[in-house]
C-alpha cells in the first residue's frame, strides 16, 4: 500500500485516481475498521470478545476467589472448581466494616446532594439566563478541578486540626462537594443548554416565578442529566482515598481507608481481601452500569456527548 499520497489531497482526487488500483487489491489485512470479507469480520469480532474478557478477567477472578475457602484461594496452580464458600465474606463482615461503609454512604450521598443543590442554579446562570462572561466562569470551574488535591491538603488538615474537624465526616462531605462541584456544573450546563428557551419565555410571560419555571419546565428536560451527574459524583466520592486517609481516623474513616488497613494480619487472607474489594466496589459497579451511556459525558466533564 502506498503511503506517498499527500494527506491534503487524498480526500477525493487521489482516491478517484486510485479507484481501479485499490479496490481489487484491497485484501482483508487492509480492512481496518470495516472488514467486508465475513471471515475477517468474524476474526475481529472474536478479537474484541477476547480483549473484553481479558480486561474483565481480574474482576471475574476476584469474584470467584472471594467465594473460595482461604486454603483453596491460595492454591498454585489455581483451582477453578474448588467448592464455593462464604467464609471470605464472613471474615470480612466480622472485621467490622459497617461503620466505614456507613461513613462512605453518608459522605457520598450527602456530598452528592449538596453538589446538585449548588450546581443546578449555577448551571442555570451559565446557560439559560447566562451572566456576562459566562464562559470564563465555566472555565474557572473546570480549572479548579485540575488543581491537584495534594496541593491544598496540608492547609485543609491544619485548619481542621485548629477547629476540631479532624475525623469528622462533615469536613469530608464539604471537601467532596468542592471536589465534584465543577464536574456537576459542566454536566448540568450541557443538559440545560438543550432546554427550549421559547418555552421559558412563554412561562415568564405567563408570570411564572423562577422556582416554578425551574420545577415545571427545566427539571423534566434535565432529569437524565441530574441523574448522570449524581451517579458520577457519587462514584468519585466513594472512590476517594487521599483526603479520607489524611483527614479521618477511627470514627469517620471511609470504606477505602478501611480497605487499606485490611491487610495487616499474617496468614491467608486472599479470599477475605477479594470479598472486601468486591463488596466495597458493588455500589460503584451498580452506579457505573446504570450510568453507562452518560459515563463518557461525566468523565469528560460534558465536553464529549
Amino acid at each position: 500500500m502506498s503511503t506517498a499520497a499527500n494527506p491534503e489531497t487524498t480526500a477525493t482526487p487521489t482516491g478517484t485516481a486510485r479507484r481501479s488500483g485499490t479496490v481489487p487489491g484491497s485484501g482483508p489485512t487492509q480492512e481496518y475498521t470495516h472488514a467486508k470479507p465475513p471471515r475477517g469480520a468474524a476474526l475481529l469480532s472474536l478479537l474484541a470478545w477476547v480483549i473484553g474478557l481479558l480486561f474483565a478477567l481480574p474482576v471475574l477472578w476476584m469474584i470467584l476467589t472471594s467465594f473460595h475457602k482461604e486454603t483453596d484461594a491460595a492454591k498454585n496452580p489455581p483451582d477453578l472448581f474448588a467448592p464455593l464458600s462464604l467464609d471470605g465474606y464472613k471474615s470480612f463482615f466480622d472485621a467490622g466494616p459497617w461503620p466505614p461503609l456507613l461513613n462512605s454512604i453518608t459522605a457520598s450521598v450527602i456530598s452528592t446532594a449538596l453538589v446538585l443543590l449548588l450546581a443546578f442554579p449555577a448551571a442555570y446562570a451559565l446557560s439559560i439566563r447566562p451572566v456576562k462572561k459566562w464562559t470564563d466562569v465555566l472555565f474557572f470551574f473546570l480549572s479548579t478541578k485540575m488543581l491537584p488535591i495534594v496541593a491544598g491538603i496540608l492547609p485543609l488538615y491544619l485548619f481542621a486540626q485548629k477547629v476540631h474537624l479532624l475525623d469528622n465526616i462533615w469536613w469530608l462531605i464539604l471537601l467532596y462537594t468542592a471536589m465534584n462541584l465543577p464536574i456537576a456544573v459542566w454536566m448540568l450546563r450541557s443538559f440545560l443548554a438543550e432546554v427550549p428557551v421559547d418555552m421559558l419565555e412563554a412561562a415568564s410571560v405567563d408570570g411564572a416565578s423562577l422556582t416554578r419555571t425551574l420545577r415545571s419546565i427545566v427539571a423534566p428536560v434535565v432529569m437524565p442529566g441530574i441523574a448522570a451527574a449524581a451517579l458520577i459524583c457519587f462514584i468519585f466520592s466513594w472512590n476517594e482515598l487521599l483526603l479520607a486517609r489524611v483527614l479521618t481516623g477511627t470514627r469517620a474513616g471511609t470504606a477505602p481507608v478501611f480497605l487499606t488497613g485490611f491487610v495487616t494480619s499474617q496468614g491467608l487472607f486472599l479470599a477475605k481481601v477479594c470479598a472486601a474489594s468486591f463488596v466495597v466496589s458493588i455500589p460503584v459497579l451498580a452506579a457505573g452500569f446504570a450510568a453507562q451511556d452518560k459515563l463518557v459525558q461525566g468523565l469528560s466533564m460534558g465536553a464529549v456527548k
Binding site: Y32, P148, G152, L158, L181, L242, P256, S277, L285, A303
Partner: protein
C-alpha cells in the same frame, strides 16, 4: 402617537436612574444563582492553595514548633537538590507518560474494534468498562495480592498451570515495581480512553466516509486521512484528562508498594513529607511544584476542551 412619543421622551430622564438600578438588579438576579457555587468553590479550592503557597516559604516542622518562621526560597532549593524529591519528580513523569501513552494506544485499538457492528457488542463494551468501576484501592489490592503475589497470585498460577511444576515464579512487584504499578493503572485507564475515543469515532460523519469508500479510498487511507484527524481532539482530550488524573495518583502507589522500591511519586512524597515527617514547609514547596507541572498540562487541556466547546456551540 404624538402623546406617546412625548411621554417617552418626557419620562426618559426620570426613568434613567431606576432603569440603571433595574439593570443592575437584573444583572444581580442573573448572578444570584451562580454565587453560592462560585463562592464555595473559591473558598474550598483557592484558599487552601494560597495557604500552601505561603507555607512553602516557611520553615515549619511540627516536630520543631519553635523554629517556625519565613525562610524565603529555602524549601524550593531543598526540593530541587534533594534526591528523594528529584526521584519523585522523575517517577511522576514516567508514571504519567507511560500510563497515558499505553492506555491511549490500547484504548484507540479497542475503540476501533468496538466501532463495528457485531454480536454482543454491548456486552463487550460492558466487560471493557468493568475495570474502571472497581474502587481504585480495591483494584490496587486485587493486583497486588490476587494477581502479582509470587506464591498464590493468578499470574504465577497460570504460569504453573501452563508450563508445569517447574515454571518460573517471578516476584512481579519486587522485580519491576514501577512497571507493576503502571500495568495496574493501564488496566484501569484503558477503558476511560476507550470510552472517550469510541464516542469520538461514533460522532464521525459516516456519509463522508462512505463517499470516500465509494471513491475507492482504502480503509487505511480513510483511517489516516479522515478518522485520525477527526479523532485528534478526542485523543488530546482523553490524554490530557487522563494525565491530570494519573499525575495525582496516590492510591496505587500507596497500596502496591507504599512508595518503596523507588516508586514514590510526588503525591505520595508530599503525603509522606507532611503526614509522617511533619515537614510542612518542604511538603508545601513540593505541592507548589506539582501545581506548576499541572498548570502546564491543564492549560493544554483547557484549550482542547475549549475548542470542542466552541464546536458544540456552533
Amino acid at each position: 402617537m404624538a402623546t406617546t412619543t412625548a411621554d417617552t421622551t418626557g419620562t426618559a430622564p426620570a426613568l434613567g436612574q431606576p432603569n440603571k438600578a433595574m439593570q443592575r438588579s437584573g444583572a444581580w438576579a442573573r448572578r444570584a444563582p451562580l454565587l453560592p457555587a462560585l463562592v464555595f468553590t473559591i473558598v474550598m479550592t483557592q484558599l487552601p492553595f494560597l495557604a500552601t503557597l505561603v507555607i512553602s516559604f516557611m520553615n515549619w516542622n511540627a516536630y520543631y514548633p519553635d523554629e517556625r518562621g519565613f525562610t524565603g526560597f529555602d524549601n524550593f532549593a531543598r526540593v530541587v537538590t534533594d534526591t528523594n524529591t528529584r526521584s519523585a519528580v522523575i517517577v511522576t513523569i514516567l508514571l504519567t507518560v507511560s500510563v497515558v501513552l499505553v492506555s491511549l494506544v490500547l484504548g484507540l485499538c479497542i475503540a476501533l474494534l468496538l466501532d463495528r457492528k457485531f454480536v454482543g457488542r454491548g456486552a463487550v463494551r460492558t466487560l471493557m468498562i468493568t475495570p474502571f468501576l472497581i474502587v481504585p484501592v480495591a483494584a490496587a489490592l486485587l493486583w497486588k495480592h490476587a494477581l502479582y503475589n509470587p506464591e498464590y497470585g493468578l499470574f504465577n498460577g497460570l504460569l504453573k498451570a501452563v508450563f508445569g511444576a517447574d515454571a518460573p515464579q517471578p516476584d512481579w512487584i519486587t522485580n519491576n515495581p514501577l512497571i507493576a504499578i503502571i500495568a495496574a493503572l493501564v488496566w484501569q485507564w484503558t477503558p476511560f480512553m476507550m470510552l472517550i475515543l469510541l464516542a469520538g469515532l461514533q460522532s464521525r460523519p459516516l456519509d463522508v466516509v462512505e463517499a470516500a469508500r465509494i471513491d475507492g479510498a482504502s480503509s487505511w487511507q480513510i483511517f489516516t486521512n479522515m478518522t485520525l484527524p477527526h479523532l485528534r481532539q478526542y485523543i488530546e482530550l482523553s490524554a490530557l484528562l487522563g494525565a491530570i488524573y494519573v499525575v495525582q495518583n496516590f492510591d496505587h502507589v500507596f497500596t502496591i508498594t507504599s512508595g518503596g522500591l523507588g516508586t514514590a511519586n510526588l503525591p505520595y512524597f508530599i503525603y509522606q513529607t507532611f503526614y509522617t515527617a511533619q515537614d510542612y514547609g518542604r511538603a508545601s514547596a513540593a505541592g507548589v511544584v506539582v501545581v506548576i507541572g499541572t498548570i502546564i498540562i491543564a492549560t493544554a487541556a483547557l484549550r482542547t476542551v475549549f475548542s470542542l466547546f466552541k464546536e458544540e456551540q456552533r
